[in-house]
């Protein structure tokens, strides 16, 4: 990760019109679906094209999303999504931060509030390099489960990154890796005189 944070140079998606169905956010226009897909937003689920709640919020904040037949703002969309996902704030804050640093982030593997994250410029070319999971106050993980998750992520050939969200939404990242203490090869005795 030596590359400095890239500005959001990639041309962003244009206006997206979405439709709310139950708790899901759907996009019907096939051309828009294609555009979203190439930029790493949303996924086909059966016949529907579905945006994840944090994706919808991100696009809404970027003023690129409108909801069919509803006067929806970021606030009202957030309130709506909060009813279905208590952790939406954590997820959105990490997602938004990763996006602002030029990463493509997709839904994770269920370790918690996790995302699979592609190295810059590698989306659709290589598999995700990182699994980033959010830790915020109130939603804790046991040490055992944490070590287990790090092990699984490394078995998948990815790097585990912990994202800590501070109280006002700033995100701090740490890379977590399993360590092996092999037999120490150094001599720890002090030669006497």
């Amino acid at each position: 990760m030596s590359v400095p944070p890239a500005p959001e140079k990639q041309e962003e998606v244009q206006a997206v019109e979405a439709r709310i169905s139950g708790s899901r956010i759907l996009v019907d226009d096939v051309r828009v679906q294609d555009e979203l897909r190439t930029r790493g937003y949303g996924e086909k689920e059966g016949d529907d094209y579905v945006l994840k709640p944090y994706e919808a919020l991100y696009l809404m904040q970027a003023k690129r999303l409108t909801v069919k037949g509803k006067e929806m703002t970021f606030d009202s969309l957030f309130e709506f999504l909060l009813k279905h996902d208590r952790n939406i704030m954590t997820r959105f804050l990490v997602y938004r931060d990763l996006k602002s640093r030029g990463y493509v982030a997709k839904e994770g593997f269920g370790f918690g509030d996790d995302f699979r994250v592609y190295e810059r410029g590698e989306y659709e070319k290589k598999p995700a390099k990182y699994v980033v999971f959010g830790v915020s106050e109130g939603a804790n993980v046991s040490a055992k489960d944490f070590a287990g998750a790090v092990e699984e992520i490394e078995k998948m050939g990815k790097d585990a990154v912990v994202a800590v969200i501070e109280r006002r939404g700033e995100v701090i990242y740490y890379k977590a890796s399993r360590m092996r203490f092999a037999q120490n090869k150094h001599d720890t005795s002090i030669p006497g005189k």
């Binding site: 070590a147 890379k175 977590a176 399993r178 203490f181 720890t188």
Partner: protein, 180 residues
């Protein structure tokens, strides 16, 4: 066998030659009043912490007695340790694992963690590994992660969570700054 006296929650090795020998065989203890010993050329008794004392007693290298001369068995030392340390069993398992693999394991209190672990020795390695012991069921909190990361960045060495698991094995997870 080297003799040590139990004095409060510490063990003192009064014999200078024994002190030098023990200190010189993997940096056990600390010579009294010598903050940075140069080699083993010190003329001071050695102070061991209880965990080191327990380990050395169990290994049969140290014979511990009360100030009145009464012998203290390894089992008795362990009992005292359990009173003195929070979660002694978990911490001791990590101590055993790392000492058993030949590392120098010292108290980490001045770094704000359980152990400072050296490959060559204090004063020789440029920085120790900082090890914090977590029980498997302990919760990893946001504050915990930030503290870990903060420590690792200030000391410029990896901060490591040690999580004892079944069968005396220990899982280690290191934390590094990630430049997003």
């Amino acid at each position: 066998m080297i003799k040590g006296r139990l004095v409060g929650s510490r063990i003192v090795v009064w014999d200078i030659n024994d002190s030098r020998q023990l200190y010189g065989s993997g940096y056990y203890g600390k010579p009294i009043g010598v903050p940075k010993p140069k080699g083993t050329e010190f003329d001071a008794p050695l102070v061991l912490d209880l965990m080191e004392g327990c380990y050395l007693a169990e290994k049969g290298r140290l014979k511990i007695s009360q100030p009145d001369g009464k012998a203290v068995t390894p089992a008795e030392i362990k009992k005292i340790c359990k009173k003195q340390y929070v979660d002694f069993d978990d911490k001791y398992l990590v101590f055993l694992d790392l000492r058993g693999k030949g590392y120098v394991v010292t108290p980490g209190i001045k770094f704000g963690c359980d152990f400072a672990v050296y490959e060559r020795g204090p004063g020789i390695d440029h920085a120790p590994y900082l090890v914090q012991v977590f029980r498997p069921t302990d919760e990893l909190t946001a504050t915990g992660v930030v503290l870990a990361g903060r420590l690792a960045t200030t000391v410029k060495k990896q901060f490591i969570l040690a999580i004892p698991k079944a069968g005396k094995a220990v899982d280690y997870v290191g934390f590094d700054w990630w430049r997003a």
